[in-house]
């Protein structure tokens, strides 16, 4: 195992993940959407955020926004093909995704991408952050976006889902 980057809850022997797994994430969303509809997919995203990613929530709770920045920096270093800038600003953490590694890979592979794919970034991150008093607003998608993480007490109005771009394969 590599020395533990404290920001990430799980460790691997590889410094960067295998891009081949991105097709399984997309296929998982499609399977759940097909079986349970959008409501089921939203439940999956809520559950994976609040249950699987609980160690991330705990760190964000303990450290606050610096841990949010630390997490996303470490996270995208481990995602193959990501081009991302993470900045800690006065009121929020801004994650500027210049090249989304997952969308880029799926397009390279000629895969049909679930149209609401990019909404998972909002719903999963919101589920991770909520118990820690952190929330997110996402703008853009389909290959590049900006994600702003706020303390919930200082966040702007609720997420406008129309600001998250639908993916066309």
């Amino acid at each position: 195992m590599n020395s533990p980057p404290q920001a990430l809850p799980y460790l691997d022997t590889k410094p960067v993940g295998a891009a081949g797994f991105y097709t399984a994430i997309n296929a998982t969303f499609r399977f759940i959407l097909g079986r349970f509809g959008k409501e089921g997919l939203l439940r999956y995203w809520e559950d994976i955020g609040s249950r699987y990613y609980r160690p991330v929530t705990e760190r964000w709770s303990a450290v606050g926004l610096p841990a949010v920045a630390e997490y996303w920096r470490a996270f995208f270093v481990a995602e193959p093909g990501a081009e991302v800038e993470v900045q800690e600003l006065a009121e929020h953490v801004e994650v500027k995704v210049l090249t989304c590694p997952m969308i880029a890979h799926l397009r390279e592979q000629g895969r049909e991408i679930v149209p609401c794919f990019c909404q998972h970034c909002y719903f999963v991150s919101d589920a991770i952050g909520r118990p820690a008093g952190v929330t997110v607003r996402v703008e853009g998608g389909a290959g590049s976006c900006v994600q702003r993480f706020y303390l919930a007490t200082g966040a702007p109005a609720v997420q406008d889902m129309n600001l998250i771009t639908e993916v066309r394969s």
């Binding site: 195992m1 990430l8 809850p9 799980y10 460790l11 691997d12 022997t13 590889k14 960067v16 993940g17 295998a18 891009a19 081949g20 797994f21 991105y22 097709t23 399984a24 994430i25 997309n26 296929a27 998982t28 499609r30 399977f31 079986r35 349970f36 089921g40 999956y44 559950d47 994976i48 249950r51 699987y52 996270f75 481990a78 995602e79 193959p80 989304c100 590694p101 997952m102 592979q109 998972h120 970034c121 999963v124 991150s125």
Partner: protein
């Protein structure tokens, strides 16, 4: 974003989420429909299209990308994998992640239906500790699974860790379905 660096963690977590939603049958449908027929359709194209040659191409790329500790042995009749250090199960063990009752079943859960489609059957055993072996032969082959050491110079069954404490061996004989599992008694 859900990422690929810890994919095996949330993949395993997802099995249990699906089981809670629809039982083991839903998990099996997921492995077949989402993984075999959708995610791994590049494997289908190679293996259905090219048989053993396709297996060589698919697993050479996949196991290298996942940084597996493994050995391939190929003849005209059989494609064999000895998995000495499964990166996927290894990730779960190292990180103490277990939600679903048998993560290792996912491999035959999607590879089984693929091999059936390609006209092959599988002899396979896994020990739930990150070691397993596979032999794929044409479905009409009369050959039995190989004796330990026959094909491979580093047959996983001859390694000490194959039967280390905690190892429980699930066995599949000429199978294409996860339901064809035989759980071997600890002494075998």
């Amino acid at each position: 974003m859900i990422g690929c660096y810890d994919f095996c963690g949330h993949y395993e977590w997802t099995f249990e989420w699906l089981r809670e939603m629809g039982g083991d049958e839903l998990v099996k449908k997921y492995w077949d429909e989402a993984i075999h027929q959708d995610s791994q359709r590049h494997a289908v194209e190679l293996i259905v299209g090219e048989g053993i040659e396709g297996m060589k191409k698919y697993w050479a790329h996949t196991l290298e990308e996942e940084a597996a500790g493994y050995l391939n042995t190929v003849t005209d009749e059989v494609y064999r994998i000895d998995m000495h250090e499964c990166p996927s199960k290894g990730f779960l063990i190292e990180n103490g992640l277990q939600q679903f009752h048998d993560y290792c079943d996912h491999c035959i859960g999607w590879i089984g239906p693929l091999m059936k489609r390609a006209g092959f059957a599988i002899d396979h055993q896994h020990n739930h500790c990150g070691q397993c072996w596979w032999e794929m032969r044409r479905v009409d082959s009369q050959d039995a699974p190989s004796a330990a050491g026959k094909f491979s110079s580093d047959d996983v069954r001859l390694r000490a860790e194959w039967k280390k404490p905690g190892a429980e061996i699930d066995s599949f004989n000429h199978a294409t379905n996860v339901d064809e599992k035989e759980i071997l008694p600890p002494s075998l």
